[in-house]
Every structure is written in structure tokens, then in C-alpha cells.
Symmetry: none
Subunit: 242 residues, 2 copies
DNA sequence: CGCAGGTGAAACACTCGGTTACCAAAATCT
DNA sequence: AGATTTTGGTAACCGAGTGTTTCACCTGCG
């Protein structure tokens, strides 16, 4: 069930889209401005953002660029009618598609499907002459290199470090939200896409396993710090490479 | 008398096309969704499919792919006006032509004739799993070369590696969707054109056989990685050569 | 100083995936 | 056609990965 984040300052449009997309099998969250959007984007696992260009405060184009700086999450921009300029700038900023207001909901649905299909679906085979580099990002921190496309972790010495699927997913969750305290709930959502059961300790165990593989001294963790009563914190600064 | 299958959820378009094409010497059947379409397609001998992209339930692009998995029957896609994305994806999925709505019936007629002429030459030989447009493509990755036309795999050392038909199809499915987690369902659909039975382990076994032939150390696979709870991932980047 | 809640770690249980063996269907060879 | 080989799928076993439980320990507090 893809999770869509709708960003628009018009309350009516937000409720309309929430209801419409919800009725078509999507999980929908809504934000009314950039600040709210970034908070939600960093907290939950978002599969696609529908982003109005005209927003109070920071505008949509800027937000688009900021999201793109650290993530390949698909973005569909909503532009004012016939505003060619916004459309072009939007695509340059890295938006995946655009739609001018007022729009036909069915058309929005079609674009959402198309964009999601391109981004992660089974379709979209490689086209001739291209090297595939879809979401080929590499996250680099403290000498480590985390290759999201190949699902590989390379140590500072350059050796391939074997991680289990769960360990890898958890590390990605950390590396995509560095220098922030993440609760066990958030980590569970980001890495496993599920919510915590009472007395759920699985994240603790996985953190411990990650530390054993990555920390010089697992008893004195440097990369993944414990925040008592809060959760865990990934302390390295992360650079997005590709 | 060629038999055309029209697939569109709009009743008006169906009757319009049925009457129009019928009047021009074609036998026409109509379906309102994917399920109906597949039923008719499998029941009768269909010479050409006219397929709307936007459909209730399974969408046109998916249907196109499913038909292509087991047949070379020509397909003309109907896309929403100016939807470049759908058009491109549609052609990648193996559609033979596209037309954006609303269209001129005479233009549709011209395209039908053209497509049938191209397809229905001397017998139109089909090999399952082959994409129509991608005649002589070679997919290259990590030194390996996968020749789709000859159905041959050459190792980095240049030696011909023997693969069974099923192994070859599965490898093609992987190489056409690199660096993406593919579920067993998707792989079964892509490589075999069928859906998974409960407790279906056939993909696992085929993956194991592929690894034995291609991985330096099958116990620590580098090319085809396992994503526990998710499926498999082809981790090499692929270049299309011809 | 004792207590309560929080965390790390070891041990265990359960699930999932890799692999082998085997069988039936299909292809190939006499 | 019949025999033989190849191939693909199923069943079964085993090991790896993941979550739960438990206990020890630590920290902060009364």
C-alpha cells in the first residue's frame, strides 16, 4: 500500500485528495506547508509526494530541490494553470511529473500510477543505450559506503561487509535520517514498515547486531548512539554521492 | 477477416469502435476490463488488440506486458491526451503503436492497417518471452554478455555458458530489471508468464541453479542477492549494447 | 541504599530461503 | 514408436535470519 504525502495550503484540496486517493487504495498523509511536509517526510516512509508550487513560506520548487538533495522519492508538482515556467523549472528541480490546476482526479491517479511504476514497480525495463542508474544512490559516512541499488555495504577499508536484509534496511533508515533521534517506533516503520507490538525489542536486537559488525568497540558505540528513553541516533554525517 | 479486440471501460467508445471497424471489414470483439479481455484473448484467435491504458482494476500497461509474456499479438495502446509517460512506458512494454485520446477514427484505421501489415507478413514467428522491438539486443553486465537474439550467455572469459530455457528467461527478467527488488510473483510473471501457486518454490530453485552457474561463490552471491521477505535483486548495472 | 524502568546481550523458537533428491513432462535420439 | 536425456517443479531437510524471552546491569530517583 503506497504512502502518498499531499502538500497543499488549501484545506479543501487536502481533504479532497486524502479522501479520493484513500478510496483508491493509497495511504495518504497531508501537510499544509513546507515545515510540516519535511517533518512528515523525515518521520515516515513516503513513497510519493504531491507538491503544490504555491505555498506559504518556502515554495514548492525549493522544497522539491531539498527533497531531491537527499532522496529519490518521486514528486508530482501541482502548478497554476498554464504556468509553463513553473512546469519547466519544476522538472529541472527533479520533479517526476507535473499537473496544472484545476486537474482531473482520474488524470492525477493515472500519473501517480505511472510515476510509481517507473520508480519501483515491476515494469519499466531498461531502455536501449542507457546505463541503468535508477535510484542508484550511495550514502557515504565515516568512510563507509552504503550502495542502495546494489544493497551492499563497503567498509572504510573497501571490503564488502555482509549484512542481512534486516540489518541493511535498518542501516538505510539510519543513514537517511542522520543526526536525529529516532524512536523505536519510527525505526520499525522505516525499516520494516510495521508498527510496534507491546514489549517489542526487535529494533534493540538489530541495533546490537549492526554494532557488532560496524563499531570498532561495540561496547562504546560511535556510529549508532543510544538515547536513553528516546531511541537511537545515527551520529555520522552522511553524504549522498550519486 | 482480421479479428480485433477492443478493450475500453467506456461503453460509448466500445460501441463506436465496434460499429466503425465492423463497417470497414473487421471482426470486432469488445471487453470492458482486463479480466474480460484475457478471457476473450485466450478463447478466440485475436489478430490485434486495441487497449486503453486507463482501466478499472489492472491497468493497460500491465495487461500489455502480460499479453507480451506469452504472445506477439499486435497491440495498439490508447493513452490519455498528451501523456508522454504512458506512451513511452507503453512502447517499452511491447505495444506496437499508440494513439492519444481523443483520436480520429480514420487515423486509427490507418494505424491498424500498418500494424497488421508489419505483423502479419509471412507467418509472424514468435518465441515466448521475446520482446517484439528488441530484436538483436545484447545485455552486458560485469563482463557477462547476454545475447537475447541468439539466447546465449557468454562468461567474462568469453566462453559460452550453457543455460536451460527457463534459466535463460529468468536471467533475462533479472537483467531487464536490474537493481530492483523483484518479488517471486513478479519474476514468475516476467520469466514464465504465470502466477504463483501457494508454496511455489520454483523461482528459488531456478535462482539457485543460476547462481551455481554464474556466481564465483554461490554461498555468497554477488550478482543475484536475496532480500529476505522481499524477493531477489539483480545487483549489477546493465548496459544495452545493440 | 533499594527500587523501577530502560537497555544490552545471550539463548531460544520460529520462519524463511538454499539445496538436494526425486519425479513427471518434454525434448531428443534411435 | 520406444528409449534416453534434459528440464522444470515438488517435497524435504537444514541452516541462516529474525523476533521473543529472559536476565543482568545500569541509571536515576526517592
Amino acid at each position: 500500500m503506497p504512502h502518498i504525502l499531499v502538500v497543499d495550503d488549501d484545506r479543501e484540496i487536502r481533504t479532497l485528495l486524502t479522501r479520493f486517493l484513500g478510496g483508491h487504495g493509497y495511504r495518504v498523509s497531508a501537510a499544509k506547508d513546507g515545515a510540516e511536509m519535511m517533518r512528515m517526510f523525515e518521520a515516515g516512509r513516503i513513497d510519493l509526494i504531491i507538491l503544490d508550487v504555491m505555498l506559504p513560506g518556502e515554495d514548492g520548487l525549493n522544497l522539491c530541490r531539498r527533497v531531491r538533495a537527499g532522496s529519490a522519492t518521486p514528486i508530482i508538482m501541482l502548478t497554476a494553470v498554464g504556468d509553463e515556467t513553473d512546469r519547466i523549472v519544476g522538472l529541472e528541480m527533479g520533479a517526476d511529473d507535473y499537473l496544472s490546476k484545476p486537474f482531473n482526479p482520474r488524470e492525477l491517479l493515472a500519473r501517480i500510477k505511472a510515476v510509481l511504476r517507473r520508480a519501483g514497480g515491476p515494469g519499466a525495463p531498461v531502455s536501449a543505450g542507457e546505463t541503468t542508474s535508477g535510484g542508484g544512490r550511495i550514502l557515504a559516512f565515516e568512510g563507509w559506503r552504503l550502495d542502495l541499488a546494489r544493497r551492499e555495504l563497503h567498509s572504510p577499508e573497501g571490503v564488502l561487509t555482509q549484512l542481512s536484509a534486516g540489518e541493511f534496511d535498518l542501516l538505510v533508515a539510519f543513514a537517511e535520517h542522520p543526526q536525529r533521534v529516532l524512536t523505536r517506533d519510527q525505526l520499525l516503520d522505516l525499516a520494516r514498515g510495521r508498527v510496534a507490538a507491546p514489549f517489542d525489542r526487535s529494533i534493540d536486537v538489530q541495533v546490537s547486531r549492526l554494532r557488532r559488525k560496524m563499531e570498532a568497540d561495540p561496547a562504546e558505540p560511535v556510529l549508532i548512539k543510544t538515547v536513553r528513553g528516546g531511541g537511537y541516533l545515527f551520529s555520522a554525517s552522511v553524504k549522498v554521492e550519486k
